[in-house]
Symmetry: C2
Subunit: 415 residues, 2 copies
């Protein structure tokens, strides 16, 4: 009798995290040494609560695996639960181990970002220390933020980038159709890494102007330089478009979104379980400032969470790679290798070629990869051609999706 496999998803949803899940399920169902495939609801929380779904049954029909492939967000549900340090409190680890033993789980696949890799690392340490080397945990990368180290890029990023590039091209058509003096400020996700904001430049592919300026959170934001930039652009055109990261910060390190000298009021400074600041509103705060300083009409556009789940415009390249990463995670487990994250290495950009590899999860956990300064122009208000060349292969190819009655029919595992 073989072992069972358990898979879970964690962190912010993406358009590709279910493609990885589809790879895990499809491969696990093929492996003779895996009896049953289970999914934990809401990530590690589902393991803690013994809230599991039998995926072998749920995906008996291969068409449902295909439907899952095209479905955005986390079909198994997600969480933002961080396990305590092993040296602090091991009670949750024991609960998890009990569930795994009870369900005869030999393999645990966690699809997520660097927090999830931290979880994988801690679990493996705990299993070894508690005489359960027979349970292997492995990581599959995921994050639209594209900020995981070692891997060339992250599943989910290419699809979000394709959505952002396309949407910026559409916003540009919309904005430049008017002839009145208007500043459009598009706010794009990214607290500490500007990869998604950089994708706004993809709207220039066909020779269009694209955003007049792009401000990534890697560069200290100077609001008066920003006003100068916008004024200079208004000298050439009545319609000015800028793209900003939600996480742009001023020289004090404070978020521009919360700039009290602009807002004239104190915002509440809630932080979430991981200590990240709950942001929103760089586009609105800057809009107030520009309106005061320039007197132009301002149109703030926050791309919101739609940018991470717009699966109808997913990148075919991204989905295919994401599935492959899930497949390879199962294969690695079958070869007896856990405690790694499957990674993508770029062999070349033109023509685009990648190979897959592995890295110890401990090297991924709690690290982040920002946009290199040399991929941002000297003035700090645009990106370089090198960054365009990096992004371009990741957004190639359209997906058909599964449309029924005019709307994509996404896979729903539970309501």
């Amino acid at each position: 009798m073989g072992k069972n496999l358990l898979v879970a998803q964690s962190g912010g949803p993406t358009s590709a995290i279910n493609a990885s899940l589809s790879g895990v399920i499809e491969q696990a169902l093929k492996e003779g040494s895996i009896d049953t495939v289970y999914g934990a609801k809401h990530g590690i929380v589902g393991v803690l609560n013994e809230d599991l779904i039998n995926l072998t049954e749920a995906f008996a029909d291969p068409k449902e695996i295909e439907r899952l492939y095209y479905t955005p967000a986390s079909a198994l549900g997600t969480c933002r639960h961080k396990l305590k340090k092993l040296t602090e409190d091991q009670s949750e680890y024991h609960t998890i181990l009990n569930t795994l033993v009870k369900y005869n789980i030999g393999y645990f696949v966690y699809i997520g970002g660097n927090d999830s890799m931290d979880t994988v690392d801690k679990l493996n340490q705990f299993f070894i220390a508690n005489d359960h080397k027979d349970i292997l945990a492995i990581g599959v990368p995921k994050t639209i933020d594209n900020d995981l180290v070692i891997t060339d890029h992250c599943p989910g990023y290419g699809s979000a980038a394709k959505y952002i590039g396309t949407t910026l091209a559409e916003i540009e058509r919309d904005t430049r159709a008017y002839n009145s003096k208007t500043l459009t400020i598009v706010e794009i996700m990214g607290r500490n890494a500007g990869w998604l904001t950089a994708a706004s430049a993809l709207s220039r592919i066909h020779g269009n102007k694209g955003p007049d300026f792009i401000y990534l959170c890697e560069v200290v934001f100077d609001k008066d330089k920003f006003i100068e930039d916008v004024k200079s652009a208004f000298e050439k055109s009545n319609t000015v478009i800028v793209a900003v990261s939600e996480g742009i910060k001023d020289k004090t390190g404070g978020y521009v979104a919360d700039d009290e000298s602009i807002l004239g009021m104190k915002k509440s400074g809630n932080t979430d379980a991981f200590g990240h600041s709950q942001l929103s509103g760089a586009c609105r705060t800057l809009g107030i400032y520009a309106s005061e300083k320039i007197g132009c009409k301002v149109r703030p556009i926050e791309l919101s969470s739609v940018q991470r789940c717009a699966a109808h415009i997913a990148s075919a390249t991204d989905l295919a790679e994401s599935k492959q990463l899930g497949t390879l995670a199962v294969k690695s487990l079958m070869e007896g290798e856990g405690n790694v994250m499957i990674t993508v290495e770029r062999v070349s950009s033109k023509p685009y070629e990648v190979k897959y590899s592995k890295a110890p999860v401990s090297q991924i956990a709690n690290n982040e990869k920002k946009v290199p300064r040399e991929w941002i122009n000297e003035a700090g208000n645009d990106i370089t051609q090198e960054l365009m060349d990096y992004m371009l292969p990741l957004i190639q190819g359209q997906v058909p999706g599964i449309y029924e009655n005019g709307i994509p029919n996404y896979k729903v595992l539970f309501q």
Copy 2:
């Protein structure tokens, strides 16, 4: 020697207004009695400024007409310029007539909403009164708001509705992936008519829950009833999603977005050239209120202008009909009939069948069609099946678009 044709676009951009333009150009180029096709930049303002483009030259290659078909927003540019009453000041009318005579224009096609139909009506009156019955102006409908009278529906609406339905399905996947208590408030365009907000219900097509509540601007909004609704939904689920029209108003007739008792501050009340209030923020204002009254986490999502220009998810039905309306406008002019707007009549919904007709522009101008009260449920917080049946045929069919290098390559006539 024949006459020339002039076409222009006006009002807010849509994903289908260029499909209508492509129909006008394609048909006009076929007509032996039309010499040259011109386009006015930025609507009637381009006629006033003699700012015309030779479209016969610009669209010599039929491939460019196809590219135009898939391009969002107004390729000719748009304006919000309202001509003065004929009894008030005729100076602009004389300027327009001079331009038309100078360019030997016999036919003027104006693609737009009810303000544009008002312009067509006034121009025709002026031409007749000034011995220029030889110039015929005609209207082609356009507006994502779907609020033009007589025509069954408006070009651009079906594509916006498809985007909204798809995006809400994606937001639902994203939102319900979490298990923390969260209220998501999606704000959808529509000042006086809730047709677009109603389209949020299309996310339910495949048996999904969709928004828990839908509040259209046709119904007086009661913020305390709203809180009751949300509380009752939280009893059944941790994730609650509501869709609201930007233009929801309370019993005093004031916009909920501007509710000072919530905002605790006075907003500036700018109005545009047509006296419409410049809105934004019903989702944020309501978010503040719900956060105070319920203490839940709130995620405000404003679909913004992206909803009107997301041509990558245009409705094939909408684009095909929009083009046909442009084609028929030219044919009507060739038959000597102007001063009408081409309309769509629905023959049946199942199977979907339409026929095209005409209505005097004077009957369209300055009127608006709201969602009938009987298509909204009694409680005023959802729509009825009749409205679903009305919308469903309009979003059918996907468009391939013209992708190059991962992003749609849209037609740009001028930067």
